[in-house]
Amino acid sequence: MDKNRLEVRLFGNVTIKLNNEDITGKLSGKSIAIICILMLQRNHRISRTELIEYLWPKSSDEAAKYNLRYNIWQLKKHLRIEDADRDFASDINTGEKTEEGVDLGQKDISGSSFIITTKDMCYINKDWEYYCDFTEIISIDIKDSKSTSLSKLRELCDSITGSLMENCFFEGCDSLDELILVNRYMIENRELKLLDMLAERLYEEKLYDECVLYLDRCLKLDPYSSKNARMQMGILIEKNKMQEAKKFYNNYCKTLAFDLELEPEPEIVALAEQIKSIKISRETIQVVVDESSIMDFSAISQIINKMLEHESFDIIKYMQDQYVMEDLASISLPLARKLDCKGASGQPVRIGQSFKDFVEAMIKDKVILWLEFDVKADKVSAEIIDALAQEHRESVRIVKDK
């Protein structure tokens, strides 16, 4: 027979799954708490007395014992152990009676249950296969980052989907609330350490896109960390996402200034300067299209004509291939004159591509293209320009229908 598998997730809202079926809703708050408390124990063992101290500190001894036994019985039942009823029956044979007159007993019970109870102890049956996100995180050696594989680190970090036992508060159970608190304190620091480790590894391996995701999480936990801010900006610069790098820097400065009245460290300021210097070398070419017809490519032809009017701007240098020149000359008479070529009677697909190549050559040279339309562009031009603007948000800007 296949082993039963229990999955306990303590991060975010607590969920308990038995063989992939979510059974959290079927369990009482205290039953769930029993599982959580067991999971929070180092060896997953706890004495009955301690459990009672956590869960029913204010009840009489007798009532507390009954409550514990009742909840454990309920747990076993919902964990669908076939012999749960028998366990309870065997449990109740010692002559103790509850208010309802039910006998309660304390006998060793069958080894098939997920939770095993003895006279004094509760513990988890090692024969069961079980997974607990919290336990996994605890078992990692965070001092030696190389001892854990990248994929394991990733998996661990992904398993943390919220605070430990989020939205849990047990009224009247002071020590239980404190147990959660002290573990939250410990685990959150561990989480940050793991995220740091993962981000660093991803950075080393140049897996930048992924690295940014985890850095983001690090920065949510510690938005002031200069190390992470440096890494984040480094990546954005590396990936030529200057606007994003700037936005990040601005927000980082604001966070430091408003929360802590601090300024960023010199190294980060230097990175920001680096971005600035790149920006300064960018040239903005502004084109206002004021006449256009519905003829294919008429707007693009206008753009090229207008660019030619900018005396300081050498558009020819961005037409790196002969066919680009010819294609564009075919839709712009002034260009054809300037190049002294007639222009091939290009095919629409090729002209579109040539214009794209031409604009991308400008972008590569850090030119910003600012296009304004007074009138609606023809459909063919509009599609090509929109696609360019979509793809190069930082470099091609469009103001339509002024």
Binding site: S163, E166, C168, F169, E171, G172, D174, D177, E178, I180, L181, V182, R184, Y185, M186, E188, N189, E191, L192, L221, D222, P223, Y224, K246, K247, N250, N251, C253, K254, T255, A257, F258, D259, L260, E261, E263, A272, K276, K279, I280, Q286, E372, V399, K402
Partner: protein
């Protein structure tokens, strides 16, 4: 027939060319007639259902306009418990218990505890607060807002940050509930964010009568994310947009964002309000051209790159959006002016009325340029009451330069449109407090007359929001937004201005407050 109201026997400050009048008549939501003496009597005779309000010789002004107001921040602060009078843990307990009794609260947030004043000479930690109350999350700020105290439930509920410096723990690494430094700063954000939209809506509803009692009829609502720097959180602005039609007071939303397309899509004609170009003088983060007097290594810093700001302002020009920037130090004001100049150069001159919020340290040379650009200055006279003068915070930070803060007289003389606001909840939202400090400026050379100060909160406020054709003055054809005061504010001793109360507030012809 629409209802008719005549306010007679008043000293009406009309804010029009003919500065004063004695009576005005409202029909429906509009002012239909304004006159002197008792010439209103003719109108009265012809109609029996006219309501006559006798102003008893006191001042009548256009409904006040607050040009810089954080609605949600103010609404939330009204829900806090004030612990400033607590002298012992016992007092703290009494305050918490009475708050609990008065109104069933799901969380308790408060401020004002000073450990020096407490008998115990220390802040109450988790255990002490737990003894007072365990079942409701509690968070209390110290008087200087640098220390936060939480009970156990509060720590779990507000998701106290445990990875940052400033988490106090006991010998068994159990957090004590006292948070300072980075952890305190982060916790502050989670506390603010923990308040649900529904709760915020209730709190705004509760704030409205208070605002009406100050004679406020229009407010420039500076809203964005909950936190100053959080550009991705537009929750607050969205709450105002969703509900503003329900409110008796007009909220003009300044959406704190640099996303032009977002604001365009919403059909707003203005953007920004609290787009921070620098920080504050109190925290040494306002950007100055010369170092701070009490911290000679620091000049503060600019929070936005000039090129980026230029592009943003240009974008606003092209999209016909009025842009409002938050700048305090002279370097930040410079940056704002440079951006406005750049945009004017690229896009041509137009009636943009771009705004600088606060502008505390605008220089003479900058005033000239601001005038040329027709920039509107939206300023807070009450700052002078809090921080001005030779011994205030301004003087501590700036030395002799305290004389250069909020130079209202010079600004007026340059012909710049100067609007008044409270920056509530930073200062008292009552416009009379603002008027008081504009008239009683600690720097005598910069004082305004009462009439000029009222103009800041009426006509100029309207101009600053492109609303001068509908509100801000008392003349026929404009909306009937009126405040009747309990004194003749030009007749009383200037030092008593802040004690002046509003008797009646009228918005669009409806009486929304009657004191």
């Amino acid at each position: 027939m629409s209802k008719r109201i005549i306010i007679k026997n008043g000293k009406i400050l009309t804010m029009t060319e003919k500065k004063y009048a004695n009576w005005l008549m409202i029909e429906g939501d509009t002012i239909v007639s304004v006159g002197d003496g008792d010439s209103y009597a003719d109108y009265h005779k012809n109609k029996e259902d006219t309501v006559i309000i006798d102003a008893q010789g006191k001042s009548v002004v256009p409904g006040f306009i607050d040009s810089h107001f954080h609605v949600i921040g103010t609404a939330m602060s009204r829900d806090w418990i004030d612990f400033t009078c607590a002298k012992s843990f016992e007092d703290i307990k009494a305050l918490i218990l009475s708050a609990q009794e008065k109104n069933l609260k799901s969380v308790i947030i408060g401020a004002g505890i000073d450990s020096n004043v407490l008998k115990e000479k220390k802040y109450p930690d988790r255990k002490i607060l737990d003894d007072i109350c365990r079942d409701i999350p509690i968070a209390i700020y110290s008087k200087d807002y640098h220390v936060l105290m939480l009970n156990t439930h509060g720590m779990l509920y507000f998701k106290a940050p445990f990875t940052l410096s400033g988490v106090e723990v006991d010998e068994s690494t159990m957090p004590t509930g006292i948070f300072t430094k980075k952890a305190g700063a982060r916790l502050d954000i989670s506390i603010t964010n923990s308040i649900s939209d529904e709760r915020i809506e209730v709190l705004i509803e509760r704030l409205l009568p208070e605002l009406a009692s100050y004679g406020l009829t229009t407010i420039a609502a500076m809203e964005g994310g909950n936190m100053n720097y959080d550009y991705d959180n537009y929750k607050d602005a969205e709450i105002i947009l969703k509900n503003k039609h329900k409110y008796p007071i007009d909220f003009k939303l300044y959406y704190q964002t640099t996303e032009v397309s977002l604001v365009k899509k919403l059909g707003l004609k203005q953007i920004g309000g609290t787009i921070y170009l620098d920080g504050t003088l109190g925290s040494h983060t306002a950007a100055l051209s010369e170092p701070y007097s009490d911290l000679p290594t620091k000049k503060g810093m600019l929070l936005m790159d000039q090129d980026e700001l230029n592009d943003f302002v240009c974008d606003c020009y092209k999209n016909n959006l009025q842009v409002s920037l938050d700048a305090i130090g002279d370097s930040a004001i410079e940056s704002a002016l440079l951006a406005f100049e750049y945009a004017t150069k690229i896009c041509g001159k137009k009636d943009a009325r771009n705004r600088i919020e606060h502008g505390e340290l605008i220089s003479e040379e900058q005033m000239k340029r601001a005038k040329k650009l027709n920039v509107v200055l939206s300023m807070q006279p009450t700052y002078e009451g809090y921080w001005g003068g030779p011994y205030g915070m301004y003087s501590e930070r700036l030395g002799e330069r305290w004389k250069n803060t909020n130079c209202f007289r010079n600004i007026m003389e340059h012909g710049i449109c100067l609007c008044g606001g409270s920056d509530s909840d930073v200062t008292d939202p009552n416009p009379m407090t603002g008027i008081h400090w504009a008239v009683n400026h600690p720097n005598k050379e910069q004082r305004l007359t009462v009439y000029e100060a009222v103009k800041m909160y009426t006509k100029s406020g309207a101009y600053g929001m492109f609303m001068e054709d509908t509100i801000g003055s008392i003349c026929p054809g404009l909306k009937a937004d009126i405040a009747i005061l309990d004194s003749d504010i030009e007749g009383i001793n200037k030092e008593n201005l802040k004690g002046v109360k509003v008797k009646t507030t009228i918005k669009n012809g409806d009486v929304i407050f009657n004191g």
